[in-house]
């Protein structure tokens, strides 16, 4: 069975069970709620992993008081944050200040709609799934910039401007690195991409994976690119003036984004829900958490880059490499009928090594001092 046939057989509209009570719309409402529940649960797990994992890596304990091994710590935190006073600065733009967390939250929730949990199990199997992700994921920036602008605080504004600059730049290598996988898979539907991964694309597109991981980290402001909330420089960045539940929403967005990017990496490069023995959804969640753990690891290990270095990395390093990767992949797809083969794996890994070596020889991070 070729790839397009598989997709046709798994079109989402047919995936609705015919005996589902109330028909099609109930299906959507029900699974939307399930999806939001999934997202919140994953965020709680992610925060737990991050805090405990970072604790271990930093030779301290991490939260361990609430519940066994501190598993209830996040619940306690949520309750605490709900009870907190909501403080709005006097000079803030009240409407924008109020609206910002919501604007930031909605796109992240939308991201989860196109990610397959197992074969065909996704809320909307759009045939432009990847395009949807690229389009929607950067919308969060709008909320962040509204927060920075609306709180009338210079730290917030600096953080928000940094974020806009970073997201606009990193969107390009991010999208370009995906195109390689699209070429190989021959489809934009995420379910189709998973089905095409007889060899996980991390092997077939190693350079694409690295670029996507780095650009993804920058896009969602995970360390070492966490400039917009660089606590040692601009206090808390865009959410300096937020408290209570509004702050919690930003916190939620941050981790939901990290989980979403991890899930997208899992789907695009790690074979999504595919795997032996265990049920597919468990494979999916497991892989997502492993990718998230990688992010935690880099966060504890690396210092932060500077804003001009961040830009230089995107435009001088990632963008050319992504273009070359795309070019090579295109040739491979043209040359072979089935580009998913082990020769391509070997070629691509060698190409990745050579390219990174050459580029890092001539690449200079940032430009340093400016005469004033």
């Amino acid at each position: 069975m070729t790839v397009p046939e598989v997709i046709i057989n798994n079109l989402p509209m047919e995936a609705t069970p015919p005996d589902w009570p109330g028909g099609y719309w109930w299906h959507w409402v029900f699974f939307s709620i399930v999806l939001i529940g999934f997202m919140l649960t994953m965020v709680i797990i992610a925060i737990y992993i991050e805090r405990r994992g970072m604790g271990r890596m930093q030779s301290r304990l991490g939260p361990n008081r609430a519940g066994p091994f501190g598993v209830l710590q996040m619940i306690a935190d949520v309750v605490k944050v709900l009870l907190k006073e909501n403080i709005v600065p006097d000079k803030a733009d009240k409407l924008i200040h109020w609206l910002a967390p919501i604007v930031a939250f909605v796109p992240v929730a939308l991201l989860f709609t196109v990610i397959p949990f197992q074969n065909g199990a996704l809320l909307a199997d759009l045939n432009i799934g990847i395009l949807f992700i690229v389009a929607v994921s950067s919308l969060t920036t709008l909320g962040v910039f509204m927060a920075g602008w609306g709180s009338s605080n210079k730290y917030s504004l600096l953080g928000a401007m940094r974020n806009v600059a970073a997201v606009v730049s990193y969107e390009i290598p991010l999208a370009l690195s995906i195109v390689g996988t699209l070429l190989v898979a021959g489809t934009m539907s995420l379910n189709g991409i998973v089905l095409a991964q007889d060899i996980p694309f991390i092997l077939l597109q190693p350079l694409g994976f690295l670029i996507f991981f780095i650009a993804g980290c920058a896009e969602i402001n995970r360390s070492p690119f966490d400039l917009m909330e660089a606590d040692s420089e601009i206090v808390a960045g865009f959410h300096t003036e937020y408290s209570g539940m509004k702050f919690a929403l930003f916190y939620l967005v941050e981790y939901a984004e990290a989980i979403a990017i991890s899930a997208i990496i899992t789907t695009l490069f790690l074979g999504g829900w595919r795997g032996p023995l265990l049920p597919p959804w468990l494979w999916f969640i497991g892989k997502t958490l492993v990718v998230f753990f990688l992010m935690v690891w880099t966060r504890t290990t690396l210092p932060r880059v500077r804003i001009d270095q961040l830009m230089a990395l995107a435009w001088k390093f990632l963008l050319p490499l992504a273009l070359i990767n795309l070019f090579i992949t295109a040739i491979q797809v043209l040359a072979w009928d089935d580009a998913v083969n082990w020769i391509a794996v070997v070629i691509n890994i060698v190409v990745m090594g050579v390219l990174i070596l050459i580029w890092s020889k001539f690449f200079k991070l940032g430009w340093g001092r400016i005469e004033v």
Partner: protein
């Protein structure tokens, strides 16, 4: 609005206050930075939020009674402060210190240097954005040193261990074995730390060539300690004006050439190695005997003045004491290392970005208790 008007849109610099309450000002320092976007175009330091009038308080206390207050100056390295003050008063009175006392002083001062540099390196990297990991690691090692201090004087932050004429009490017998263990542990730890950070790409990109302090400016501003040595000023009071018994030990004075943030970090790491060398020599040679000279409870130095200084972890720390033959100093002036090292900050950060401002400031390594006194 036409395109040409858009192109010439006027932007104007704005003032941003860093501190007095800010995660990276190491206390209550305040920097009024004028920013053009991200670029720092001017900086006005504001000090004095932690002023407690310690110099004036010295005039109200006996010579010995002022020692606990010196702990509160540079609270990251109180042992050195104690010692600097005692050196000044001993110079004034001409007290001779017993051998064992001298050795203990050197051991404590060098341990203090290690502890201080642990904090300095950790917080420098924390300012660079390495989310608390190096900070925690270095604090783990500092903890061992603080445990040693706890063993000899019962305190973990304000030691009050030095006395005029020696040290307050002899070390317990389990101290030296514990010290040897700490020396071994720290040797391994420094290597570990070096493998993690010495060639870290991001750290190099962030700190190499950033915040250069030229040799001339370092000398002009009176900057001392690791900051000056990173700029190529080969001056270490332990060699240049040898006090206590430092002339008996073999150690090098590490210097660097460029004077950027990375060099300051390198110098500190090297100094930690040298301190370990001194310590292992001191542990070998330490003699028995009394630890404190016979000094009357209330000292009445002859009329006169004396300036005692030493190489504190942060640089030259000096106490200038004037006596009028009473039981309290007539005047006590402190040469604060941190304040004088900060004096070149404005020239160092001009033209760099906000993120650089923070790590340049962090690489100077100051303690607000000493800046404001």
């Amino acid at each position: 609005m036409t395109t040409s008007e858009m192109m010439t849109l006027k932007t104007e610099p704005f003032v941003l206050n860093f501190g007095p309450v800010h995660p990276s000002t190491h206390g209550v320092y305040r920097m009024r930075a004028t920013l053009d976007g991200e670029v720092v175009i001017d900086l006005e330091p504001v000090v004095g939020y932690l002023h407690r009038g310690i110099e004036k308080l010295a005039e109200e206390r006996t010579y010995g009674g002022f020692i606990p207050l010196t702990d509160r100056l540079d609270y990251i390295s109180p042992m050195s402060n104690n010692l600097a003050y005692c050196l000044a008063v001993e110079k004034l009175t001409g007290i001779k210190i017993p051998e064992r006392g001298e050795y203990l002083r050197v051991i404590m001062a060098e341990l203090q240097r290690l502890a201080n540099h642990c904090v300095a390196v950790g917080s420098f990297l924390n300012d660079a954005g390495a989310y608390f990991t190096p900070f925690m690691y270095t604090f783990r090692e500092r903890e061992k040193i603080v445990d040693l201090f706890d063993m000899v004087c019962g305190q973990r932050l304000t030691y009050n261990y030095m006395r005029i004429g020696g040290v307050s009490q002899d070390i317990p017998e389990e101290f030296l074995p514990a010290l040897i263990k700490v020396i071994e542990r720290l040797t391994i730890f420094i290597e570990e730390y070096e493998t993690l950070l010495k060639e870290n790409e991001i750290l190099l990109a962030r700190s190499k060539g950033v915040g250069i302090l030229t040799r001339e400016m370092a000398i002009d501003c009176g900057i001392s300690g690791p900051v000056a040595r990173a700029s190529g000023v080969n001056r270490d009071l332990r060699k240049a004006d040898s006090y206590s018994i430092y002339d008996r030990f073999e150690f090098d004075v590490p210097t660097c050439e460029t004077g950027d943030c990375y060099d300051r970090y390198r110098v500190r790491i090297e100094e930690m190695r040298q301190s370990l060398r001194i310590l292992s020599q001191a542990v070998k040679d330490i003699p028995g005997g009394p630890v404190k000279a016979e000094v009357p409870h209330l000292i009445r130095p002859p009329v006169g003045e004396a300036y005692g200084h030493l190489e504190a972890p942060k640089g030259e720390l000096g106490f200038y004491v004037v006596s009028d033959n009473s039981i309290a100093p007539y005047r006590c002036h402190i040469r604060p290392t941190s304040l004088i090292n900060l004096s070149a900050l404005r020239d160092m950060v001009k033209g760099w970005k906000v993120a650089d401002l923070i790590i340049i400031f962090g690489s100077i390594d100051i303690t607000m208790g000493e800046v404001d006194r």
